[in-house]
Every structure is written in C-alpha cells, then in structure tokens.
C-alpha cells in the first residue's frame, strides 16, 4: 500500500504541487496523465525524495513519513522499499546490464554477491534480455536500456514501482513491446504508479487514472470513466488532443 497525502511543492516560489493525494493499493496500477508542466514528474520525484516536498506525508507499507521531518534514514528506507524507472533510463554507464541490476542489490541492500547475480539474471531473463547481460548501456538500444531499467526495478522486489513516462524516449516501434512487458508485470501483480501519455495502455492496464492539471489531481477514477465520460472540462480538453495517432496497439 502506497499513499501520498497533501503533497505541496514550490520551486523558487512557484507552486508546482498544490496538495496532491494519491493512493495505490497493493497489486494496483495507477496511471497519471496530464499536460506538460502539470507536475507529474515532480509528484513522482517527491514520492521517493529525489525532490523534497514542502509539505505532506508519504506512506510505503507500514512506514509513514512526514516530508518535513524526514531524516536520512527515513529517506533511505523509503527508497529501499521502492523502485524508479526513468524516462531517460538513467542506467549506470560504468556497469554492464547485469551489473546495473545486481549493484542495486549488493550495495544498498547488502544482498550477497552470488545471490544478487542470480536474482539479477532472473530479472534480465524476465524482461527478455538475458543475452545482453554483459553489455554496457552504451552498447544497448533505447528499448534494451529501458528493459534493464525495468529489470533493475523488479529485482529489488519493491512495494511499488514509480515509472515516469517509461516509453516516451523510445522509437515508436519499440514502445509497444515495452508497454506489453509492463502489462505482463501488472498482470503478475506488480504495484505501479506510472506517468504515461499512452492512453490505450492506461485504459487496459490501470485500475485507476489520475488527471493532473496545475499541480492538482483534477479528476480520478477507473480508466473507462475518465476516458469515456470525463466530468471536468479540463480533462475533456486534454483528452481531445489525443488522437488515435498517439495510441499503440498492445
């Protein structure tokens, strides 16, 4: 179970998050949609303290943290219970695919080296790139790099995975296969909070969709309601911009 309550965040006096609430139940997928600049990335980054929110509470599992009072240990605890998949992959460029995954187990989580390698290999197999285990990120395509990013996220058995537009840096022909992989993870019971512009994916995979605008969750609900019968005018205006061109069949 993951929760954020009353999250507020300003950058240099500029309010970016205006009191956001999010709940993701175990095994659920929650998709966040919204226009550019609405604060989606900032919200995810506040969830694992890559960005420190000004106000609010974050809960992962049984751990509640008041962002104002969070100390180093609280932050490490939250980060070690969660995982993040970045838009630009953010793989360690001095580590192989296998090293990228096993490093996250051995160094912060103190998993013995052999066991870490075994778990990492399992994760790479699961995302379909076991044959690239010894390649460096620079030797991998964008799609393969994002698979490593996802392998890293599942290998640490997190309570929740945060994904910030995991497919938007990819070539169109690769987007579908990554979305399919994420769908498989969801079906296998992974808990995910994902920022995405892939409406069809959100429709098929998400249990709940949040529409954000100007630092607020304006509307939320099951995907069919949000996409078919949006109540708010702002949601409707946003959805009108998505033509079928932006959708990928999965």
């Amino acid at each position: 179970m993951f929760e954020m309550r009353g999250i507020k965040k300003s950058f240099n006096g500029n309010r970016v998050l205006n009191g956001v609430d999010v709940t993701v139940d175990k095994g659920e997928v929650v998709a966040i949609i919204g226009a550019s600049g609405s604060g989606k990335t900032t919200l995810l980054r506040c969830a694992n303290f890559l960005e420190r929110a000004d106000e609010g509470n974050v809960r992962v599992g049984d751990k509640w943290v008041d962002v104002k009072k969070a100390n180093k240990k609280d932050i490490l605890d939250i980060r070690r219970m969660t995982a993040f998949v970045f838009q630009n992959y953010s793989l360690f460029s001095n580590k192989t695919a296998l090293g990228n995954v096993s490093e996250c187990l051995t160094t912060p989580r103190k998993v013995p080296r052999d066991e870490a390698r075994r778990i990492a290999m399992e994760a790479l197999t699961r995302v379909g790139i076991a044959d690239k285990a010894d390649d460096y990120p620079s030797e991998l395509s964008g799609g393969q790099q994002q698979r490593v990013g996802i392998a890293r996220a599942i290998a640490v058995s997190p309570d929740i995975i945060f994904l910030d537009e995991p497919t938007s840096a990819l070539d169109p022909e690769l987007i579908g296969e990554i979305l399919l992989l994420l769908k498989d993870l969801a079906l296998a019971g992974a808990t995910m909070l994902i920022v995405t512009h892939e409406i069809r994916f959100a429709m098929e995979v998400a249990n709940q969709v949040l529409f954000m605008d100007e630092g607020l969750v304006v509307e939320s609900g099951p995907p069919r309601e949000i996409f078919r019968f949006p109540k708010e005018e702002r949601t409707r205006a946003f959805l009108r911009r998505f033509t079928s061109d932006f959708d990928y069949q999965i």
């Binding site: 490490l76 070690r80 995982a83 953010s90 360690f92 001095n94 996250c104 620079s138």
Partner: protein, 231 residues
C-alpha cells in the same frame, strides 16, 4: 663537432643511475596526489567553505609562479621551519640537515601537481550527468555508496587522459630538481658531462631516457583506459 659514441655509453650508464630517483618522484607525487587532489576537487565541486576559496587561492598562486622558484623558496624556508619545530618538540632539529633533498622535491612537485590534478578531477566530476547520481539515489544508495560504486569509477575513466598528461608533466618537472641537489637523471648526466667537458653526449642520453619513460607512462595509461571500459 664530434660525437663520441663511447662517451655517450659511459654517460648513459651514469645517467641511468638516476632513474630510480626520477621514477620514485613520479610515482610518489602521482600516488599521493590522486586521493588528495580528488578530495580537493570534491571540496570545489560542492563549494565547501572555507576549503573552496582556499583551494582556489592556492591554485591561482601556484599556477602563477614557476616551480623553480618554489624549489628555491622551500629549500631555504622549510628546513629552517622544521628545525625550529623539532626543537620546539624537544627533538634534535639539526637532523633536518641530514634530510635527503628528494623529500623537498617531492613536496614541491606535489604542491604543483595537486593543482593540475584537482582541476582534472573537477572537470571529470562536473562532466558526470546528474542522472548517474539519481539512478543510484532512487535505488537507496547513500551518497558515499553512490560515489564509491558509480561516480568515482566514472570520474576516474573520464579523467584518465588528462591524468596521463599530468603524469608526463610530473616527469618533465622532475628534471629541474637537481637545483636543490637531488641526484636524478639530469643531475647524474650533468655531473658526468662536467667532469669530462663533453656535454652533447650526456644531454642526448637524458633526452633518450626521458623519452623512454614518457613512452612507458603513456602505455600504462593506455592500458588503464582500455581496462576501464565505459560508454
């Protein structure tokens, strides 16, 4: 002008006796400078007060003055200071006159090359993209863990070409430490030349020796670069 191959050989044998001292100075300067200059680079990157302004001052001072002047200055100043300090501690300060000048040379070389190498590292650390830190932090690395496992290895391999230049710079700079009486390659060559009034042969010899050492340093760094593969 006549060039005596025989004397060139004699002078070579003499000059080679200075190689251990020259190599010691290079290895010791470089080895000590590595961790210190990396720490200096961190202090500058993170603008740690008062280290950051002090280091900046130190770098601009050392960069703006010749090493030869440092050698003369510290040759006159340091033994005096150390002698006083030792007497102050109840030790026999006169022992300082037995000090091998090679230590003073090491000190001055270090003083100079810390500035170059800290700039090498600073540039390398600044070139590392923010996402390398964030990838680590997001997975629960502490700052120290992120540095040890991700940032330092990358900074090292990025800095290698520049460090290689600094190492060659150290090699070249060792050739002036004879002015404070260090028995390095150049000092040995000068001596054998002076006793027989044949300078050309001896100076050809030291050029060859420096060239070979320079080649070796370059090779070592090339090997290191191919070992630490990245990107």
């Amino acid at each position: 002008m006549n060039f005596s191959l025989g004397f060139a050989l004699t002078a070579m044998v003499e000059s080679l006796k200075g190689v251990p001292v020259t190599l010691f100075l290079i290895v010791a300067t470089f080895g000590l400078a590595l961790p210190i200059s990396f720490s200096m680079a961190l202090a500058r990157v993170y603008k740690i007060f008062p280290l950051d302004p002090l280091i900046r001052l130190y770098v601009s001072f050392v960069r703006g003055t010749p090493m030869l002047a440092h050698l003369f200055f510290f040759y006159n100043l340091l033994p005096m200071v150390i002698r006083k300090a030792m007497f102050g501690l109840g030790l026999n300060g006169n022992l300082v006159y037995d000090l091998n000048p090679v230590w003073l040379a090491l000190f001055v070389l270090l003083l100079n090359y810390l500035t170059f190498m800290s700039e090498n590292f600073r540039a390398a650390i600044l070139s590392i993209q923010k996402d390398q830190f964030e990838g680590a932090y997001a997975f629960g690395f502490t700052k120290a863990q992120a540095y040890r496992r991700i940032i330092i290895p990358q900074a090292m391999s990025t800095a290698l070409p520049a460090l290689s230049n600094s190492a060659i710079g150290i090699l070249k700079s060792t050739s002036v430490v004879f002015v404070i009486g260090v028995r390095d390659v150049t000092a040995n060559a000068k001596q054998v030349a002076a006793t027989s009034y044949r300078y050309l042969e001896a100076y050809v010899d030291i050029l060859i020796i420096y060239l070979v050492i320079c080649f070796l340093i370059t090779r070592i760094f090339q090997l290191a670069e191919s070992r630490i593969r990245r990107r």
